[in-house]
């Protein structure tokens, strides 16, 4: 699990001129975002403490510290370096509760794509995150995280319930499993390549 402790050894980037790619993993509370981030990360996921005001707005300057009551929310993220490709991929678990909307500005900004994680026992918990990603026009895939207790789901029904665009992939994964998590990211990359290619032709 993520930890904010500073006594952890620092894992530096091998190449400061690497290209950084950001992907957002969003979904409801307890849907497995941090687990998925951890499954593909080369470092134990790190956690930042984001400062927010009582109303949920992000505190983004020093002045905000003095005159407002503030609290923090932990954001977990992981990193995977592909040395040969000179690419470093960062995955950010992004909270899917509406009260964290102001945080999304900083967290989602610059994301090349997103994964919306879904728990079929409470799919509604991820609706808000899906809307937020759509509004920001970030291309995304939806992945059902298979929990041992999850009832079997009918993909067609789930698609209808989510009102998914026919082009948006709906997949399943086991966020605790490295191979499964990596396959999910591969699917995301393939989808994003198609998505941006089509953008080119329009």
């Amino acid at each position: 699990m993520a930890s904010g402790r500073s006594d952890r050894p620092t894992i530096y980037l091998a190449d400061p001129d690497t290209t950084v790619v950001k992907v957002v993993v969003a979904g409801g509370f307890g849907v497995g975002k941090t687990t998925l981030v951890g499954a593909v990360s080369e470092i134990t996921p790190l956690r930042t403490e984001e400062l927010i005001t009582a109303s949920g707005a992000l505190v983004d300057d020093m002045a905000g510290l003095t005159d407002k009551t503030h609290t923090t929310v932990g954001i977990d993220f992981g990193r995977t370096t592909f040395h040969e490709q000179q690419v470093t991929l960062y995955l950010f678990g992004t909270p899917g509760q509406p009260r964290f909307r102001p945080l999304w500005e900083g967290l989602a900004s610059g994301a090349i794509g997103a994964i919306v994680l879904l728990d079929t026992r409470r799919p509604g918990d991820s609706y808000w995150a899906m809307d937020e990603i759509e509004q920001r026009k970030i291309p995304y895939i939806v992945a059902v995280n298979r929990f041992p207790e999850s009832p079997p789901h009918d993909p067609a029904q789930l698609r209808a319930a989510l009102d998914l665009d026919p082009a948006t992939p709906l997949l399943t994964c086991d966020a605790t499993d490295r191979v499964s998590a990596r396959a999910l990211l591969e699917s995301l990359m393939q989808y994003l390549i198609c998505h941006y290619r089509q953008e080119e032709s329009t």
């Binding site: 904010g4 402790r5 500073s6 952890r8 620092t10 530096y12 980037l13 190449d15 400061p16 001129d17 690497t18 290209t19 950084v20 790619v21 950001k22 790190l46 956690r47 930042t48 403490e49 984001e50 400062l51 992000l58 505190v59 983004d60 300057d61 020093m62 905000g64 510290l65 923090t72 993220f77 990193r79 995977t80 592909f82 040969e84 490709q85 000179q86 690419v87 991929l89 960062y90 900083g106 900004s109 610059g110 994301a111 090349i112 990596r182 990211l185 591969e186 990359m189 393939q190 994003l192 390549i193 941006y196 290619r197 953008e199 080119e200």
Partner: protein, 121 residues
């Protein structure tokens, strides 16, 4: 670390040295890769700035990683790092592929490289 004359894509020198705080802030975000310039630590630095420089001394990290390791809020880290970049103590590498600014060809290239990387590990 890349030495002088090293490869590519640093933020423009006028921003890294003499730009105003407001201008520099726009070039540094949570995904910016940072390295410390190989200079002696100046005296009289505020403690948080000192810790950031010390953290970056051995190598490169993104701003958000610096914030996580030092348990500083990223928003505050960004303000301090912007000042350190202004003062020429920290180098901001123009490292993130921003989908809003990148061309489609650049986006597809980086996605294909990421996919190749994922398939190899």
């Amino acid at each position: 670390m890349t030495g002088p004359g090293g490869r590519r894509r640093l933020v423009p020198a006028y921003l890294a040295t003499a730009g105003s705080a407001t201008a520099t802030r726009n070039t540094v975000d949570r995904m910016t890769v940072l390295t410390a310039e190989p200079l002696p630590l100046p005296v009289g630095l505020e403690p948080a700035a000192h810790r950031i420089l010390e953290k970056l001394r051995p190598g490169a990290l993104t701003l958000v990683e610096v914030a996580a390791y030092l348990q500083l809020p990223p928003s505050i880290t960004r303000v301090i790092v912007s000042e350190l970049v202004d003062r020429g103590l920290v180098r901001a590498h123009a490292s993130m592929l921003n989908p809003q600014e990148a061309t489609r060809a650049q986006k597809i290239d980086i996605l294909e490289r990421t996919l190749r990387g994922l398939r190899k590990i």
